[in-house]
Symmetry: C2
Subunit: 314 residues, 2 copies
């Protein structure tokens, strides 16, 4: 049994191309080749814990991922996100790997999902990337977008100038030209590839700012109370994509839009079907597309497997 600590995980991943690996996970999921039970959830006074787990049939491993968010940790000088992944043998149940990633792999596989979505749904020419949120995931999303989108102009929304200044300082090093705003709808108005990455429980982007040709990836809302998009945006979209239709029935933007009757489930297409070309992605530059990512355990299975396999090579 291997215990792999965070610095080693980062070193191992440096030479792995995660985009095809995670994309394969989404495709396997949508093709019914993955076993993914409902997400386990523990709600505590100070935080929330998610247990995501499953396996791809006829593969070697199953993976159990524990990820937590404790938002008061900021005041204690501790990271708000935390977690680990456990990798077991499908044949014997033996624990083969403990990946002490402290939530890092969740952050990376989520950012990679954003890049995969952009690959299939972003307009051909991205004029300006919009990022709603200025936290860890808002950074990671942008960095992974570099690999699939050729645009360096970015408008970022944050809650205050100080977090925006920090964001700008961190991300400009990666070669982006960052402008900032305190009005979230300005991001939607002026960008044609928008990613939302906040824990908001109130819509931040409204239908009045929507325009033809935009793609929005909403990845912040992963629990029933969270919401980043006015549901009318989904109602107006030409294409609504979910990472997991079954999860989106009970959490995320699609859940909100279904609950309020703004959309019906037959309008939602699963990402894995677009990846495997069973369903079309964006078919014209004027379409409005929305992808709702709630996080699927096959992403965790695939990234944990990639780290573990890489660790065996070295």
């Amino acid at each position: 049994m291997k215990t792999i600590e965070l610095p080693q995980i980062k070193r191992l991943l440096a030479s792995v191309d995660l985009i095809p690996i995670i994309a394969e996970g989404f495709a396997a999921y949508s093709a019914g080749k993955a076993v993914i039970p409902p997400v386990g959830e523990l709600l505590l006074e100070q935080g929330e814990v998610h247990i995501k787990y499953g396996f791809i049939k006829n593969d070697e491993f199953y993976v159990i991922k524990i990820a937590s968010g404790f938002f008061n940790n900021l005041k204690l000088g501790l990271p708000t996100s935390n977690g680990l992944m456990l990798l077991f043998s499908q044949r014997t149940g033996e624990l083969l790997g403990i990946l002490l990633d402290q939530g890092y792999l969740t952050s990376i596989r989520t950012a990679v999902a954003g890049a995969i979505v952009a690959k299939h749904l972003a307009p051909r020419k991205v004029e300006r990337i919009g990022i709603v949120g200025a936290g860890t995931q808002a950074r990671a999303q942008l960095i992974y977008l570099k690999t699939v989108v050729d645009c360096k102009q970015v408008l970022v929304w944050g809650q205050n100038e100080s977090e925006l200044a920090k964001y700008r300082a961190d991300v400009e090093k990666e070669g982006f030209r960052i402008e900032t705003t305190l009005k979230a709808d300005q991001v939607l108005e002026s960008c044609n590839l928008v990613v939302t990455a906040t824990p908001s429980t109130q819509p931040l982007l409204h239908v009045e700012s929507l325009h033809p040709g935009v793609h929005i990836t909403a990845m912040g809302s992963d629990t029933p109370p969270k919401q980043e998009l006015d549901s009318a945006i989904l109602a107006r979209a030409d294409l609504i994509v979910a990472d997991s239709i079954s999860q989106c029935r009970s959490r995320g933007e699609i859940f909100k839009a279904l609950s309020s009757g703004q959309i019906t489930e037959d309008r939602v297409v699963e990402l894995g079907r677009i990846i495997s070309r069973e369903a079309p992605g964006r078919t014209s530059d004027s379409q409005i597309t929305v992808a709702d990512l709630t996080g699927v355990a096959t992403q965790d299975v695939q990234i944990a497997t990639a780290v573990y396999r890489k660790s065996l090579e070295t």
Copy 2:
């Protein structure tokens, strides 16, 4: 963060009295002081995995336990049961302890639950203990019964003479006088404290062998297909006890008896209420009592907490 391996876990537990600790867990559970989400389950071609998790409110920790059963492992010379427990801070979500117990703590907390049940439900004078099953848990149950029941006469049922011979050799060292049988109902006929500890999916004990004054603890059946007791036994019992009524609605003996209409849920009393004296246990020597244990995460929370706290002392 501490990683505690199995030999150290065994050493630490040697000086811990688990009976009051686990009993407190059941009482907290039944008093609504515990948060225990539904059991997570992963069914693979070669085995099954259970994820049990939760916490006692206003305590320090939450615990996530992974336990697996891979029954073909026997052929591979590997243990069939495996697992680990993870202990986190309720305040910050930090991972504090990895208990690499390989399923040992599950075995012990299950055996301790059997002893707690016997304490409250066994007849005053146990004439002969009956054990149905000759595996790991069938050994552990008997060993923990020693601490609460003053009887050394035991009749054990197993599938064949060779497993029974091994069982006898192992357990006679503990001071028991072991007789064996290949007829399970003989155990029920001739003993007044019976524990079933098999993965059977067919009833092993039948109502024809039932007699006044017997107590039966059924702890083998913890998934929907498993069953050790003819449901008519539950129908005839004066007292039916569940470790968790909500779990017993969907797994175990009570689930089977409810499904077949042999009992109604209002007849089932939760163990924690008997422990905290809100409900009576056995009130006469002639009563027939049945306890159905499916395993509750508060047992895991309590035993993991006990090991971790003990590790801080040393």
